[in-house]
Amino acid sequence: MAEDIIKLIKENVVLGRVNRDDEGIDEGMLGQPGVSELTEKALALGVSPVDIINNGLTAGMEIVGQKFEAKEYFIPDMLASAEAVGVAMEILNPHLAKSGIKDKGKIVVATVKGDIHDIGKNIVSILLRGAGYMVTDIGNNVDPQAIVDAVRDEKPQFLGLSALLTSTMVHMADTMQALRENGLRDKVKVIIGGAPVSEEFAKSIGADGYGADGFQAVRIVESLASAEDK
């Protein structure tokens, strides 16, 4: 029974169905329970929240990620699935707190100075939240000093920087420099992303990782996190 309901949660994440009123990606699902009803039901049946997250929500998002990379899924598909995961996490959070389970880590994200493009950053935030991270979004057009302050105050394990313009990606380098000058560089892992940015650029400014899209960003964070645990 527990396995069945977790499987249903996973499938409905893949379909991006928040609740029973959601038609989802395929037609003909209207009226059947969505991720939020299924999550409530799983809890009522005594399924552990961790099981729901790992084998239902996360497993579902992994499939979504594969479909996105295969160009079978598009951004709206991905956002629908991420929203379903977000709603489920809201239901699960009080239960997680009660059982004393820690979240996976904290991430501060920002679009750098001079750049007001926030769509990429927002997508990455949604996917990171879906993967169980605590995300603090400090907005766009963020000055290096303000990023330094956020790192000092929030003490995140990760910092995600975004830029869409060739003219603003230089401020990623400024931000790295500001972190160094403030003695914070070794306190936080920095990952960067955005259209003009590359692996090579990430290396050149001394960042820890580069994500070409939202799913890659999550993967990089996961791999940096597990490297840190060792």
């Binding site: 160009k71 598009f74 951004i75 709206p76 956002l79 007001i116 926030d118 769509i119 927002n122 997508i123 907005g139 766009n140 057009n141 313009l165 060739t166 003219s167 990606m169 230089v170 259209a195 003009p196 650029f201 050149s204």
Partner: protein
């Protein structure tokens, strides 16, 4: 509808490399091809070269020279940096000119506004302040109001102002198509002499068959009152639809422009 050719933009990797390598031939080709395809203006954007930040001025001065060798079409100088715009104009020989762009952010509105007034340029004004793109029609119109009041004060005519209503990807927020279209409508109502311009490709970000979406949006925007589009003139279907849009919105008496384009073989179904 005016067509501003978008291809010479450093956010495109191959263009950025051509600029970095001072590859005249490649860039002249881009300018010439866009002019031949019917662009009214050629947009030039140098971005900033990777790892450096102070050679933007020299770069655009060179690029303007290169493009002027290839075509007599007027240019749209695509930068929000007054120093780069000034550098671009140093050797600019054209009469008509578009400066692309300002926002309601006061410092740049003042400096670039003064430049546009002095050069009697057409000025693209984004319907936003210095923060993120507002997601409502009202906030975008409030930015337009600030911009128009300032530009009139410094002696520009409303007809020199090209408002960009701004386009956010429909993939991320389903309401954004209508927000853009309604912003165009309202701008045309409030400032009948001003014109509107937008880049089309943002609407389709993250979706399959992007060009189909862009073209459909072009037609809807034409009905809402779009006067100019920033697009790839080598997209023959889009260019055909520009002619169709002019015809269907009463800007092509006796359908002459459309029929002429048909006879010359440039209309593509």
């Amino acid at each position: 509808m005016l067509v501003i050719g978008e291809s010479i933009n450093a956010s495109n990797q191959s263009v950025a490399e051509a600029i970095a390598n001072r590859d005249r031939e490649f860039l002249e080709g881009l300018a010439r091809d866009q002019a031949a395809a019917g662009a009214d203006f050629i947009d030039v954007n140098v971005g900033a070269r990777r790892g450096s930040r102070d050679d933007g001025a020299a770069t655009i001065e060179w690029l303007v020279e290169v493009v002027q060798v290839a075509t007599d079409k007027p240019l749209a100088i695509d930068s929000d940096d007054p120093a780069i715009i000034e550098a671009a104009l140093r050797n600019y020989r054209g009469e008509r000119l578009i400066i692309n762009s300002v926002t309601a952010e006061p410092a740049r509105l003042a400096s670039i506004g003064a430049l546009a007034a002095e050069r009697q340029a057409w000025l693209v004004a984004l319907a936003m302040g210095d923060k993120e793109i507002p997601d409502s029609v009202e906030q975008r119109l409030a930015a337009c109001e600030l911009i128009m009041a300032h530009l009139i004060r410094v002696g520009m005519g409303a007809e020199q102002v090209f408002f960009d209503p701004l386009v956010l990807p429909i993939a991320v927020d389903s309401s954004q198509g209508l927000v853009t279209l309604k912003t165009i409508e309202q701008i045309k109502l409030r400032y009948p002499a001003a014109r509107t311009v937008m880049g089309l490709s943002n609407i389709s970000y993250g979706l399959p068959d992007r060009k189909l979406v862009n073209r459909a949006f072009l037609l809807m925007a034409a009905y809402a009152g779009l006067d100019a589009a920033i697009l790839d003139p080598l997209d023959a279907k889009a260019m055909s639809l520009v002619k169709v849009a002019d015809m269907l919105t009463g800007k092509d008496p006796f359908c002459k422009g459309y029929i002429r384009a048909y006879r010359s073989g440039t209309i593509v179904d």
